[in-house]
Amino acid sequence: METLNCESFRVCMGPAGEVLAKKPEAEYVIATTCFNRTDELADLQDAGFSFHDRFLQIEINIAGAKKRIAEMPVAADGITVAEASDFTEEMFGIACSAFGTDRRFHLEADFAHREYAAEVIAAAVRRCLAHGTRIICASHGKDVLGCVMILGDSPGGYCTNVLGFTKPGLKGRLAALPLYAGAMGLLKSETYSGKISATNAASLNLHAGFGAKVTGAEDWYILRKAGNKPCQAKK
C-alpha cells in the first residue's frame, strides 16, 4: 500500500485484499482489483467502496516503436523534444489543465473540484521526482507544450510512463505525437510500459500507433471518508 500526502488530505492506495484487511486511515482510499475478482468486488461494495475507473496496462517494445515512428509523419513545425532538468510551475499549470477528467487526480464523484485535483497532481509529481523520473518535454520556442515523466529507464530495461500530458487545445494535441515519439527516441530501455484509463481513447490510440499491447487491466474502487462532502482543500 502507498500513501500520497496531499496538502489537505491523504490518499491511500493498494490491492483490494490488503486495503480491506488493513483499513487504512486516509480521506480517500483506493483499492485496486481485477474485473473477475467477484469476491473482492462484493467485499469492496460491502465496505462502502464504489467503482472509480479502469486502467489498461500497456507495453511497447521500444525498438519496434522506433521502426513505426520512422514511417510516421511525426515532425511538426518548430516543435522540439528534449529532456528537462526541472519540473517547472509552467509544467504544473499545464498538467492541471490537461487532467480535467482524469480519475487518478479527480477523486470526488464530479469534476468540479479542480483545487483538490491540483493537490493530488502536485503530490504525484513530488513523488515522481523523488523517485528520480526523467522529464521529457515538447516545446515550441520557449513554450512548453507537454511532458512525459519516465521512471526506471536503463539500457535493456523496463521503463514506465508515470505521467504524461499536453496543453489543452490544438497545439497541445498536435504536440502529443512528436512528444511521445521523441521520448521513445531518448529512452534506453527495451520496454516501455504505462497505465492508461479505459476512457482515454486519445492516449490509447496514440500508444496503439507505437505498437502497444494491452497486458492487463486494473479496476480502481474508491472510498471517500467524507462521504458526499468533499474534503476542504486549503486556500
Partner: protein, 77 residues
C-alpha cells in the same frame, strides 16, 4: 478546392466523417494521429508549408476552414 481537400482528408483518414461536424477539433474528432497525418497529407498534396501559427482551432474545425487555409497558403495563382 473544398472538394479536393475533402478528398485528401478522406483518403488519409477514411475512418473519420469529416462532414459530420463543424467542430472537428472542439468535438475531439481529430486526435493527435489524425492531425499530424492530415497536415502531412495537405502539405504533400498542395505543396504548402503549414506554419505553427496556422495551427489554430479555427483553421481545422471544418473542411471549409481547412480549404480556406490551404488556399491562403498556396498564395495567388
Amino acid at each position: 478546392m473544398r472538394e479536393k481537400v475533402l478528398e485528401v482528408l478522406q483518403q488519409e483518414c477514411p475512418e473519420i466523417d469529416f462532414l459530420s461536424s463543424d467542430a472537428l477539433v472542439d468535438d475531439g474528432i481529430l486526435d493527435s494521429l489524425a492531425l499530424t497525418s492530415i497536415i502531412a497529407a495537405l502539405t504533400m498534396e498542395f505543396g504548402i508549408t503549414i506554419p505553427y501559427e496556422e495551427i489554430v482551432e479555427e483553421n481545422f474545425n471544418s473542411v471549409d476552414a481547412l480549404a480556406v487555409m490551404v488556399e491562403r497558403l498556396m498564395g495567388p495563382a
